[in-house]
Amino acid sequence: MKKIICFVLISMLAVSCKDDDTIETTSIEISFANKINSQNIELNTGVYQTTLGESYSINELKYIISNISFIKDNGEIFTYPVEDSYFLVDEEVPSSKIISLENIPVVNYKKIKFGIGVDQSNYPLNDVDNFVPTAEESLMHWSWSAGYIFFKIEGEYSSTGDQPDENFLFHIVSHGTNLDNYKTVELSSNFGFDLTENKLISIEADLSKLFNAVYDIRIEDKPDIQVDPVNAPKIAENVSQLFSSVPFSSTE
């Protein structure tokens, strides 16, 4: 009898420390390509048209990507550790447009979800404070309000569609607790995000939609949008519609 129990115990010992559900994990990269008319945007030199007939050029384009999570077919969510989940995409810095994530369970995900900006429930908690120096160095943090700038575009425009020569700037932030301009984006794709096949996820931002995705924006109406409870939410809403996932190709 004891021998049997002994055998059972030894067997238990043998299996008890094996993590039955060990899921393979992997490092992946998510690339962000900022485009207009399917072409990478050209800072300073490119001149683009809005559907309302204005022309514009872009001198600066930056945004914060945050709170990345992956959603399986069955709705299960893998949330990337919040404290490591804040990234600053700067059009001028090629390396900033490729986000590296580690230890992602290798699964064929149906959707990917991320935030633009910093959600109020996390700031300044959950180590999100530690993103301050990064944001500060890229001037994506407002000193006077101790708050992050979620999305920033600066450039020149012409209301008549000629060579742009008037300044415009949109700095989108949350306005205290009154108005939260943090947005989330959920992307699905026909081909899925199959990490068993591919370790790269390619996301495009179509900047032309900034001016017409949900709200038509005439730059001349308000070329300086910062703390603006009427216009900032419209820009934020349009920003949330810029992104789509595309089959990976090395576009940079």
């Binding site: 004891k2 030894i10 008890s16 109020q120 700031y123 300044p124 404070d129 301050v132 120096p133 101790a146």
Partner: protein
């Protein structure tokens, strides 16, 4: 055989327990008791998320009084927040920063911060942990970057050791720096005034103080409400607009025209020592403040409705009433707090 059996059972029992007990309390770093006063509401600040500890408090205090948090190395938090004056910049209308630069607003007192929902005169900061970014990075205050401060702290042996002792992950980083400052500041609880002693039944008001209290309840307490003497709202109290600053107040944060010229209703605890008064420090005495409410209120945009009733601007007060009110306000001074060595620089 029996022994082998027993050992096997034990091994199985313990084999998988390796994940437990990873939390080891650092014995030297004791948790501090938060001094919750009986009559106060529950703290807004989440003390479980960032529990004040002996080492965290010590680190926070060192940071608070360290000029290296500024670009010139000499302007510390404590430069404008002087303890004896309820952590305000005594006699300075607006705060003074690096190289004699002048700000646009009066340094606010620091006390009972654990009970406040938003910070600064316009509520720009919504969390105590992020508030300090404002003075550290403002060009007319400490004029430094958070990154530079972190780098300075990292290169300092004493700080590295303090951070290691104060926090579980031991890292010199932004979050730990701000958490340490918050630990120091949330412990600044001031609730040991004559007013509090009267509430507890351990003291009595003089006749004049008592008359002042009745007046206060009738004419001031709708805004300077409750045990903290503020309802934490933003209001325009009818100050004339100073063209030097043209400070739009709360509108800067919300972008709403209806918030123009509104400022946070300040607490009145330790008010007798925290002069000068108002967001721009324009009044030097409580008498001047009461004169303003009596006869100086101007009908600027968004003037608070409580200050314009039946075509009368302000709150009418006789000279006797003003003296009675001042006597009452003097009972809100907490000498034990103002002299508490735990918070003092030296």
């Amino acid at each position: 055989m029996n022994k082998v059996f027993l050992i096997l059972v034990l091994i199985v029992c313990f084999a998988c327990s390796g994940e437990e007990n990873t939390y080891v309390e650092i014995s030297e770093n004791k948790k501090l008791d938060f001094p919750q006063p009986d009559f106060f509401p529950q703290p807004v600040y989440n003390l479980e998320e960032n529990p004040p500890t002996e080492k965290g408090f010590e680190l926070g205090k060192k940071l608070f009084y360290d000029g290296r948090l500024s670009s010139t190395g000499v302007i510390s938090c404590g430069f404008c927040h002087v303890q004896e004056f309820s952590f305000t910049h005594h006699t300075h209308e607006v705060s003074h920063g690096v190289d004699g630069a002048l700000g646009t607003r009066n340094a606010q007192p620091l006390m009972n911060l654990a009970y406040f929902e938003e910070f600064s005169w316009d509520g720009a900061a919504q969390h105590l942990d992020s508030f300090s970014i404002i003075p550290i990075t403002t060009d007319t205050e400490m004029n430094e970057t958070v990154s530079n401060v972190i780098n300075k702290l990292k290169s300092d042996q004493v700080y590295s050791e303090l951070f290691a002792e104060a926090f579980n992950n031991g890292e010199v980083n932004t979050q730990n720096m701000f958490r340490a400052l918050s630990q120091f500041m949330v412990m600044m609880v001031s609730a040991d005034t004559k007013y509090d002693k009267v509430l507890e039944g351990n003291s009595v008001f003089s006749e004049e103080e008592s008359a002042g209290q009745s007046l206060f309840e009738a004419k001031c307490a709708s805004c300077h409400k409750g045990i903290l003497f503020t309802d934490q709202s933003y209001r325009n109290n009818g100050l004339s607009i100073d063209p030097r600053y043209n400070d739009i107040g709360r509108e800067r944060v919300t972008g709403l025209e209806e918030d123009k010229y509104k400022f946070k209703v300040p607490t009145l605890r330790n008010i007798a020592v925290s002069l000068p008064y108002m967001h721009d420090g324009r009044f030097q005495s409580l008498k001047e403040v009461l004169d303003h409410y009596d006869s100086g209120v101007e009908p600027t945009q968004n003037l608070d409705p409580s200050l314009q009733q039946e075509n009368n601007l302000g709150i009418s007060l006789t000279e006797t009433e003003k003296n009675q009110l001042i006597s009452f306000l003097n009972t809100l001074t907490d000498d034990n707090f103002l002299l508490d060595r735990r918070f003092s620089e030296f």
